[in-house]
Amino acid sequence: MAYPASYRYTREHEWIEVQGKTGKVGITDHAQESLGDIVFVELPQPGSKVEQGKVFGSVESVKAVSELFSPVTGTVLEVNKELETSPEKINKDAHSAWMLKLEISDPAGLDRLLTADQYEAYVKEETA
């Protein structure tokens, strides 16, 4: 699956779609592929702070539990409640199954993320 060019990516396989001062965060198609069937997603409460590169939640598949790392520093505006009952949406379409909406407090942090091309190359290198 193609990685949307308008998104930015982390080396821990999260994506962020920025719109003005807010951003939607999810995990990449490569991440869902290697995790396998996702059965549970643990997300923070709206209003809590997240920090770039730090854990904000976890995702559990039939194989393992993996931590989720925030692409930027900011405040959680909203979490995707749908994923509580339908975590399979991440497997079906990882790039539209957002987990968090964030208010970005440090826009400069976005420059440290990967572009779609860079991320694709990174995944290729990692799986080689």
Binding site: D37, V39, F40, E60, V62, K63, A64, V65, P87, E88
Partner: protein, 519 residues
């Protein structure tokens, strides 16, 4: 499902010796609730010869109005129901159990014999100390044996299993740093660790920091040096690691931690590879747990409770859980009276009712004494030999992601089979058709598509050869007829269960079809 060779299987003749398995004697069995019919009883009580009590008069509103839905069956129906269910079990008494990292070794019968001796089996935890000298003697002798084996200074037998041992051990570390006036906030954990390690650290209030393995699957010393600070409470390390590799620079790891005042916690899950050969206390470990149900042959899994003693260095002794078995004055025969010491003001407190899972102490001590020092050393050598025998017989067909020499277990990856769409879980399921319990799949997560195999010392060469033949056959099948592996198991009562639905939408109790809760 066919119980004999299917047409598809006949296409690939079995090479080597095949263990034939048949389907379960009982193919279907309804839930006990579904077999219920009103009025059936498995007992007949004599007429009531005391005044009948009225529950609501005695209990008021707490008296239960709805008797609940209980199955009603005759005794023979109940006996047959559970006997049939029992035929679906796989156990260590039936065959090899190669679950990596679990050390599913044989539970010697002498352990069971000793634990059933009347004076031991009938002992009560409330017996006075004067009448419990034998039981206290068992605790005390086991403690001394485990201290000699680990090279540590002090021990508690209380924790009920491995993760509970980790919890206790990290509480000791926390109490130690607090007592120094130097409370710390971070614990380092390698990416190859058991999931219980970060869970333990988080439960004890620490922030978990991930330590990446190097290309050999070992701790990266430079990375460790970079990450350890004055805020690091401990490193939780499994040695040998989950890929079976001994951390050959363990003493340097200890030095790096100690230089910053941090402690080295060792997860003893893989102690089966070290007993009688080297001692954690000698290579710098400050605190560790043991799994009596792995290394010391007490039942593992459904067979009995676990037991996770925690051994520590002198600096942590004041914080051990209470009570601690201590020697009192010696009598004329030169033997010390044993007593339980509760007067330990700096203790982290009790972590388990009474003294821990006493029945397991008896079994572990029986195992240690039956083997003796040379026997235990031989056990370790045999476990390592068995794992390396499997490794050498399978590494031409299964990818070995880390070529580092391994000890008691070996981790392959499904990389070659995955090219045909066959993954580690499929190979594991096919193994059931050849009469073996599957190995550990998809762990450790540093190896994508991991096949983690630990034969333990219990297995003879004959049994290992059967396993090897089965694994080699499956590798051929994956190349020539992947569908056969992808649809396995073919010999069982049910085949592929919907694990995903079971995890996403678990049904944890019986619901009658009409939705009624009671009758």
């Amino acid at each position: 499902m066919a119980t004999e060779d299917t047409g598809k299987e006949a296409a690939i003749p079995f090479e080597g010796k095949r263990r034939k398995v048949s389907s379960h004697p009982s193919q279907n069995e309804a839930l006990i609730f579904e077999k219920s019919s009103p009025g059936k009883r498995a007992y007949r009580l004599p007429p009531l010869d005391v005044p009948e009590a009225d529950p609501s008069a005695l209990l008021g509103t707490s008296a239960r109005q709805d008797p609940g839905m209980l199955p009603e069956l005759s005794e023979i129906e109940i006996v047959r129901h559970f006997t049939r269910l029992s035929t679906w079990n796989y156990s260590i008494d039936l065959g090899m159990y190669p679950l990596g990292s679990c050390t599913m070794k044989y539970n010697p019968r002498v352990n069971e014999f000793v634990s059933r001796l009347e004076g031991i089996a009938e002992a009560h935890p409330y017996q006075p100390e004067s009448l419990s000298q034998g039981a206290l003697g068992i605790l005390h002798l086991l403690e001394r044996c485990l201290l000699e084996i680990t090279g540590m200074d002090a021990i508690t037998l209380q924790p009920a299993a491995g993760a509970h041992g980790e919890f206790t051990g990290i509480l000791l570390a926390r109490a130690y740093h607090q007592a120094q006036g130097d409370p710390r906030h971070r614990i380092l954990i390698p990416d190859s660790a058991h999931g219980t390690n970060p869970a333990t650290a988080a439960l004890c209030g620490y922030e978990v920091e991930n330590l990446r393995s190097n290309s050999l699957g070992m701790v990266d010393l430079a990375e460790l040096e970079h990450l350890v600070t004055g805020d690091t409470a401990a490193l939780m390390l499994t040695n040998p690691s989950t890929i079976g590799v001994f951390e050959s620079e363990i003493h340097k790891i200890a030095d790096i931690l100690h230089a910053k005042g941090a402690l080295l916690y060792m997860d003893g899950a893989n102690m089966n590879a070290l007993v009688g050969k080297t001692r954690p206390g000698d290579f710098g470990v400050d605190v560790m747990h043991l799994n009596l149900h792995k290394t010391f042959s007490t039942p593992h899994g459904g067979g009995g409770p676990g037991s996770g003693p925690v051994a520590a260095k002198k600096i942590l002794e004041p914080f051990l859980p209470t009570p601690v078995v201590v020697e009192g004055p010696r009598g004329e025969d030169g033997r010390a009276t044993l007593r339980l010491d509760y007067d330990r003001p700096r203790t982290i407190g009790r972590v388990r009712a009474f003294y821990g899972n006493f029945g397991m102490f008896v079994r572990a001590l029986a195992y240690i004494l039956a083997n003796g020092p040379d026997g235990l050393r031989q056990t370790t050598e045999d476990a390592v030999l068995n794992a390396n025998y499997l490794r050498s017989k399978l590494e031409d067909l299964y990818e070995l992601p880390y070529k580092t020499p391994t000890l008691h277990e070996v981790v392959f990856s499904d990389r070659r089979q995955a090219q045909k769409g066959v993954r580690t879980g499929d190979i594991a399921k096919r193994l059931i058709d050849y009469g073996f319990h599957p190995y550990t799949t998809s762990f450790p997560i540093i190896v994508p598509g991991a096949l983690m195999i630990e034969p333990t010392e219990s297995e003879s060469r004959e049994e290992l050869d059967l396993f090897i033949d089965a694994m080699r056959q499956i590798a051929r099948e994956a190349q020539e007829n992947p569908e056969l592996v992808l649809t396995a198991p073919h010999s069982t009562r049910v085949s592929r269960l919907d694990e995903v639905a079971a995890a996403r939408k678990p049904m944890l109790r019986y619901m009658p079809p009409d939705g009624a809760v009671g009758q």
